[in-house]
Amino acid sequence: MSASPTLAIAPTASAGLDLARIRAEFPILRQRVHGKPLVYLDNAASAQRPKAVIDAISECYSTYYANIHRGVHLLSERSTAAYEGAREKVRAFLNAASVQEIIFTRNTTESINLVASSFGGSTVKTGDEIVITGMEHHSNIVPWQLLCERTGARLKVAPFTDAGELILDEYERLLDSGRVKLAAFVHLSNALGTLNPVQRMIELAHARGIPTLVDGAQSIPHVAVDVRALDCEFYAFSSHKIYGPSGVGVLYGKQALLEAMPPYQGGGDMIRLVTFEKTEYADLPNKFEAGTPNIAGVIGLGAALDWVNAIGLDAVAAHEHELLDYATAQLQEIPGLKIMGTARDKAALAAFTIQGIHPHDIGTILDREGVAIRAGHHCAQPVMQRYGVPATARASFAVYNTRDEVDALVKALWKVKELFE
């Protein structure tokens, strides 16, 4: 924006980050869409990848790729070392006690399904209850509904306020029934931006002997997670939200629980010995990783975590918070615009509606201005129902976004108003 060369760096320097340098590491950001510079604000759906991640995947396929855990040849040994090296990076990132507690899956959804199927299938019985919150993504609703259908258990939903904050007393009341076998809740809501008090939620569940699962799909690129400090039983997240490749997810689980749980899928890599009479399962984590995994994808996730660590998640969070505050103030200036989700503790995204204009129309018009946002129900239809809207528009931020991009969003929204009035 500034014409003065001495000030040129000012809009891109934030929270101590060199944004010009960071942006330069993302090849995809250097393009125009519909003739306008790309402003990518759909990070909550999926973030973009830095060159370090693209290179790590390319290097794997170009120089040392082979199947893991079986070959005696050099490439297999190198692939296995890189794959298991990535597991150690994930362990360190979450501060888990052991690499045996890190299971690679396809995505958060599969991680949650693994727990619902294996842990849920072996411990949940008729009349038992699973507690979730009203702000869950479909991926933390439907697996539990399927489990309830199979077992005759019931799903209990803790409500939230108009501001989008969980009503902790109601959550606690639900835990008190004496029948709850698991509390599963989202860390950062993808539809509202609410950061839930997960530490407290875990403590409340543990006080009643109830294990917990945290859906970390949205929180993982924005909030430092220490699973040992949280003390949750399970933590699930996806690689593609934290600048890694899609098709890779992680399930953290406490070792004792994972050991007691039956396998999720059967096949190669998860066995110790197979005869037609009986099969002995492999030790953790292999027991839960049947079949050839997304080897290069996992290695790419390792590179993404290295990249994030080099910048520092705290600096990333501070920068995103500043962007969110800046965006929130500007969005509120637009007549008829209503922000959905105004929790005190909020991160990284602003969901909104504009009176008389459907979010899909907002999305289409913004796209023509180069601004990519999400319009829809965000796979959180119960949240939409709670507010009585079919959909919202959502701008979500990542480390590479700038104040100039927020300005572009706001300018494009004024165009939406202009076109419709």
Binding site: H360, G376, Q381, L419
Partner: protein, 147 residues
């Protein structure tokens, strides 16, 4: 902004703001719901058919400007038409919103939706009401989805 005007033509903005036949028919001979699972939009259509002629047609629901205007324009286009013409009109309309074909004269005002062809993600919005009408004529009990 100019190419956006090709999509959001005045007629579309007008029908979005003041949808025609936007009501419930109390005793329709045919009725169906259409759902776009992508965005959660939902539309209900009601028809009164007598001797193979659409005597009355109406719709209700909440959707984007494209789906609302398309539904509104569709009700205007179909009122008074023989049921047998619905399929022909739908085919012609579908061609107009998905291909570079010349807009046939018989489509009348429906042609204003031709701009949708440049926005593939919005084709389903433009055809939702039509899918619902076709389902109503086939007497589908379950809501019909665009996917």
């Amino acid at each position: 902004m100019n190419d956006l005007r090709d999509l959001y033509q005045e007629v579309i903005l007008d029908h979005n703001k003041r949808p025609r036949n936007f009501r419930i028919l109390p005793q329709p001979t045919h009725h169906a719901d259409g759902v776009n699972p992508l965005c959660g939009d939902r539309i209900s259509v009601f028809l009164d058919i007598e001797d193979g002629i659409i005597r009355d047609i109406a719709f209700q629901g909440a959707g984007c400007a494209i789906s609302s205007a398309s539904a509104s324009l569709m009700t205007e286009a179909l009122k008074g038409k023989p049921v047998a013409e619905v399929e022909h009109l739908f085919e012609a309309f579908h061609n107009v919103v998905t291909t570079d074909c010349e807009c046939p004269r018989g489509l009348g005002k429906l042609g204003v939706l031709a701009g949708v062809r440049d926005y593939p993600s919005r084709v389903k919005c433009a055809t939702l009401a039509w899918h619902a009408v076709r389902a109503a004529l086939e007497r589908h009990a379950e809501p019909v989805a665009t996917e």
